[in-house]
Subunit: 313 residues, 2 copies
């Protein structure tokens, strides 16, 4: 297995990405290799500082970088030698089995759609995110922001993708899929959620819980939360701001600790033909480490094959 990591991505790259790679290395088997993509001249002194044997990693040297503020599509097209573009090229050619970056989110999304492309049958891939449940365990939320405008068929597919992901990667048995809505009643909602409800209810590929509300994000209702990317993005950022608030206020609690994005490492793009992971811009070495380990998990569980089977049957 070859796990690709963009060493130039994120606000604290390459320090945080290199340190994260070193930390992850300890958890990899001998047949699992980290492939670092980026400026090798920046990496080498960091490895030396850590007294780390550089032979543990493979390197794809490139100095071009897509900045955090660049326009995603333009950047992907105009910077074919950027670490993100090179990573996707390697992924497309099968030279790496997964690709992760804490860099420009939009470029990661565009790069994934342009290179490895959506799985046949998947109309729109989605970014998934993790939310801690109050009583323990996690919820998978999607779409977290890839698709601001969605159709009912998109939301149904998010339910299928999230359900398989929850089952195989998070080992949630028979995960329940909830539709984020204005109220619990079946007839409630926007035009989108009203039209989505019967699709989710009738699908044989998921275990539909029914509607859930904003107040249900952290309780035991449903394991997978389906919503359009606008709603998902707003909810995630709001939830994150609450977590930051508890930190600022010095409020310590086991539940709030589980909000710490560092533990989850990254948000995978579900529905493309390979494991692609987007890290938080502020990713610490711990976050990078966990993003690498989640990449490994996605390769090991053959989740992409499960997606392909579901959408081609």
């Amino acid at each position: 297995m070859r796990i690709g990591l963009d060493i130039m991505g994120g606000d604290y790259a390459p320090n945080s990405t290199v340190l994260g790679a070193i930390a992850a290395q300890a958890h990899l088997a001998t047949n699992q290799h980290l492939v670092l993509i980026g400026d090798k001249d920046l990496i080498t002194p960091l490895l030396q500082e850590q007294n780390f044997n550089p032979d543990h990693f493979e390197y794809i040297h490139t100095t071009e970088v897509i900045g955090m503020g660049e326009h995603p599509t333009k950047a992907i097209v105009q910077k074919p030698n950027s670490s993100i573009s090179v990573g996707f090229q390697l992924l497309k050619e099968g030279n790496i089995d997964s690709f992760a970056s804490a860099g420009n989110t939009g470029a990661m999304l565009v790069g994934a759609l342009f290179s490895v492309k959506a799985i046949p049958g998947v109309i729109r891939p989605a970014i998934s995110a993790i939310m801690p449940k109050l009583k323990g365990g996690f919820k998978i939320l999607l779409d977290a922001g890839a698709n601001a405008d969605c159709k009912p068929e998109n939301l149904l597919q998010f339910g299928i993708l999230g359900s398989l992901y929850a089952k195989h990667v998070y080992h949630i048995d028979d995960p329940q899929v909830g539709l984020m809505n204005l109220g619990e009643e079946a007839e409630k909602g926007s035009l989108l959620t009203q039209a989505t409800y019967p699709l989710l209810k009738e699908s044989k590929l998921i275990n539909f819980f029914g509607n859930i509300e904003g107040r249900d994000l952290f309780n035991d209702k449903a394991d997978v939360v389906v919503c359009d990317g606008f709603t998902g993005n707003v909810m995630l950022k709001l939830a994150e701001s609450f977590y930051v608030l508890t930190l600022k206020k010095g409020l310590k609690d086991e539940f709030f600790d589980r909000f710490n994005y560092e533990q989850y490492g990254g948000s995978p793009i579900l529905g493309v033909n390979a494991p692609v992971m987007i890290g938080h811009g502020i990713s610490s070495p711990e976050a990078i480490k966990n993003m690498i380990l989640l990449s490994k998990e996605m390769v090991e569980t053959k989740i992409i094959e499960k997606f392909k089977t579901a959408f081609n049957s």
Copy 2:
């Protein structure tokens, strides 16, 4: 001034509504009267228990009630003698100057639209809500759930309504209007927010701040938050669940205290021809008292006249 209160509305009615009315009475001037609408036979013993002189209130006796779970439109049509229907009839005829209820939210919305109706020029009235700012003060958020599907013109009007409300009722000088969106950049967003951005930017009736994100709900960015009712409803319920969580966890903090809905009393429907206030279903006497006092404030500040002027000029 005659302030109408549905004594039958809310999970703890009539106890909580009557106790709230008694508490509010102490804050009213001699020319400000509370008009209690509901079953007088239930009210009288409660007033006696409190040794409260019943002559302080006026009464409109009716025994019919719209339940919390009833279908709003059907209930309004089929129960013309319900406390909510009677309240709106009194409001429409000018027998009361404002109407408040912690009962069925949908029935309150439908009742307002059917009776006093939208202000000429206002396409869709909106429910507004209050969010505490971390550094003190408040934000007005609308729409909090009246309109699950919105057009750009609706969001522009929410901005105008919220701006006038923030200025005149919450005494926020030159309030800034923020558009809830996926990112800060002008070109970001859903089809709805992308089309709304230039309308808000060009409007001479508001002071446009620009886009804000889910993480900005409690910071100093903007005084008025504009969004569709689906997003607003999900955000409010999510924020409320966080507040409930801090209570459960026993986390005390001045900021979290300011989340307590009881302090704000109710959510006005902005854009109809009279002050209409919807209380939280679980309204306590304190919440009812503050809902009454906010009704009074809306009448005193002549906010409806300000709305009419803005939309008819």
